[in-house]
């Protein structure tokens, strides 16, 4: 998948002499008469705008082992408004973005490399987005739980529900989002640092909007508890907790696949933790468990808006799971064939 290592050969420099650049991995060969020149050929890098083809930046004396990441930093110096995270550098104006780790001399370029630049727009870090989008539901749900004024009729302000399932639901919902916040801070290892800024508005609208919609009904003075009462609530709680632990187990297992600071990708396998044994059947069990948690919560609250939220989330997670499953299959030839993206044997 990485760019092939090519030798830049036979290129003539402006002064008419030609230099052969030796790739660093070849041992010192006995080359005829190519003398005293230490084979460190500096590259020249020109960066053009992918749309207008204007020359934006010219860098000379670039080390052959410079990474795209370093080139981005250099470009940033001449164009301070384009911090590295919002730069997309490609070999072809319509091509794929090069990775920060790609090394200049291993790319199919001559000693004067031409790259195309696209502005990805304002970026925001994944951590920031996650923290914001998860804190919202936590706080918003509590506003409804405590029946803060202007939501329900004034006579209910600051009262509490008489149904104990409503208190349980609040604990579960809050636990879920606290767990997510802690995972964001201590568990997840993100392969991309940033995402486009507009995503935070989109994502927060989704999470915060649904949280408010669900919380409104669950904490409503006219809330109707589940039909099958205690049995239903107990089963729902078991499902919920089971899936929360499962989801956490998967997140930890995925984290352990990747050494700190790296962006390596490996096939996840079941570990000693029984909650990870589901990897035998499913590529993205974190989504499977997440679905299970929300099904549990739906059962617990018997609330249609919660069912809608579960459904929409399931659709989105299925799209993600299918994508991830496909990239696993593409990247690893020995990927276990028994696995389905999100639901064993089904989806």
């Amino acid at each position: 998948m990485d760019a092939l290592a090519l030798e830049a050969s036979g290129k003539k420099l402006p002064n008419g002499s030609s230099i052969t650049a030796l790739p660093p991995t070849t041992p010192a060969k006995r080359k005829p008469a190519k003398k005293a020149k230490k084979a460190v050929v500096f590259f020249e890098v020109e960066i053009l705008d992918a749309k207008t083809k204007d020359k934006l930046c010219f860098l000379d004396k670039v080390e052959p082992n410079a990474t795209i990441g370093e080139i981005k930093s250099m470009f940033h110096k001449s164009h301070p408004q384009f911090y590295p995270a919002r730069q997309s550098i490609r070999l072809d104006p319509k091509g794929k973005s090069l990775k920060d780790e790609d090394v200049l001399q291993h790319l199919p370029v001559g000693t004067t490399a031409t790259f195309y630049f696209r502005d990805l727009g304002a970026q925001i870090s994944w951590v920031t987005v996650f923290l914001t989008e998860y804190t919202g539901p936590l706080v918003i749900y509590l506003l409804f739980y405590f029946r803060v004024p202007f939501i329900y009729a004034p006579k209910y302000d600051f009262t509490t529900s008489k149904h104990w399932v409503v208190h349980l639901a609040c604990m579960c919902h809050s636990f879920h989002y606290v767990k997510r916040l802690l995972e964001t801070l201590f568990v997840h290892r993100f392969s991309h640092g940033t995402m486009p800024l507009r995503n935070i508005f989109k994502n927060c609208s989704y999470y915060w909007g649904f949280a408010a919609w669900m919380a409104y009904y669950i904490n409503h003075p006219l809330y109707t508890p589940p039909i099958y009462g205690e049995q239903q609530i107990r089963l729902a709680l078991i499902v919920f907790l089971f899936c929360q632990i499962g989801n956490l187990s998967i997140h930890i297992a995925l984290r352990n696949l990747r050494p700190p600071g790296s962006k390596t990708r490996k096939i996840p396998y079941p570990t000693k933790n029984p909650f990870t044994w589901i990897f035998v059947l499913v590529s993205c069990p974190n989504y499977t468990y997440e679905l299970g948690s929300w099904l549990g919560f739906t059962l617990m609250t018997q609330c249609l808006p919660v069912a809608f939220f579960t459904l929409v989330g399931f659709i989105q997670m299925t799209v993600w799971a299918k994508g991830k499953h496909r990239s696993y299959l593409k990247e690893f030839r020995d990927y276990p064939p028994l696995r389905s993206p999100i639901l064993p044997f089904v989806l």
């Binding site: 006219l222 809330y223 609330c303």
Partner: protein, 238 residues
């Protein structure tokens, strides 16, 4: 093969077009729809001539209107299956908004059926659809008269605002009756812990026209420049 001009700029070169069977089916579909809306047009004209007034013409074409407007749901399927190169989401949205007005407003709220605003949007829809479906028919047969192409990309200037006005006035007229009867509304308490206020929903629908209508209108204006502009350029070159 031109089926939906909206696809022009995007799929023009990549599109391979529907197969022979799909083309035959689409021709039949579009012919039937053209005929259907002609029936509605004729029905309106005859009823007007018979009564001598614009009032209450809805009842004379109620059934074919419901049948052919609802039939347009097939167009969403055409996009989903791929025989028409348009966006499923866009087409779905357009068709469902028509179906919503036909069934969830006009049919459901009896009292608005005699409103003149209904005639306003029905007329706009009728003229638009006759032109649009004949446009598709001729395009599929590769014999598109310039007149029809011109009409499609020019009449909308008047028909769009006319239709939107009729639709908004109709929804507005329906509001008091919806509120009074609690039509399609669900209140608490109930075992699904859910509520829905159709009255508020209709008001939100009316507000949604504000961002949506200009976008659609300007999209058509842009399409017009692309489609009709080309022909003008060629004639200049001559």
């Amino acid at each position: 093969i031109e089926t939906k001009p909206e696809a022009h700029g995007h799929n023009y070169l990549k599109r391979k077009g529907p197969g022979a069977l799909a083309t035959a089916y689409l021709v039949i579909y579009n012919v039937v729809m053209t005929a259907g809306w002609l029936v509605i047009a004729v029905g309106l004209a005859r009823a007007y001539l018979a009564r001598g007034s614009y009032h209450g013409l809805y009842y004379s074409i109620e059934k074919p209107l419901k049948f052919f407007q609802t039939g347009a749901i097939l167009e969403i399927l055409h996009c989903a299956v791929g025989i028409v190169p348009s966006s499923v989401v866009l087409t779905g949205f357009q068709v469902m908004s028509r179906v919503f007005l036909t069934w969830a407003v006009t049919h459901s709220v009896r009292e608005v059926q005699s409103e003149d605003s209904v005639l306003l949007f029905v007329t706009a829809w009728t003229v638009t659809e006759i032109i649009r479906y004949s446009f598709y028919t001729f395009s599929l047969l590769n014999h598109l008269p310039y007149l029809i192409k011109w009409a499609r990309y020019t009449f909308f200037f008047v028909l769009y605002p006319m239709g939107v006005t009729g639709e908004l006035l109709t929804i507005y007229a329906a509001l008091p009756f919806v509120q009074k009867t609690g039509l399609y509304s669900v209140t608490l308490p109930n075992k699904y812990n859910f509520s829905f206020d159709y009255y508020t929903f209709l008001i939100l629908v009316m507000f949604s026209y504000i961002p949506l209508f200009p976008q659609l209108y300007f999209h058509m204006i842009r399409q017009r420049k692309k489609v009709l502009g080309q022909v003008e350029d060629y004639s200049k070159v001559e």
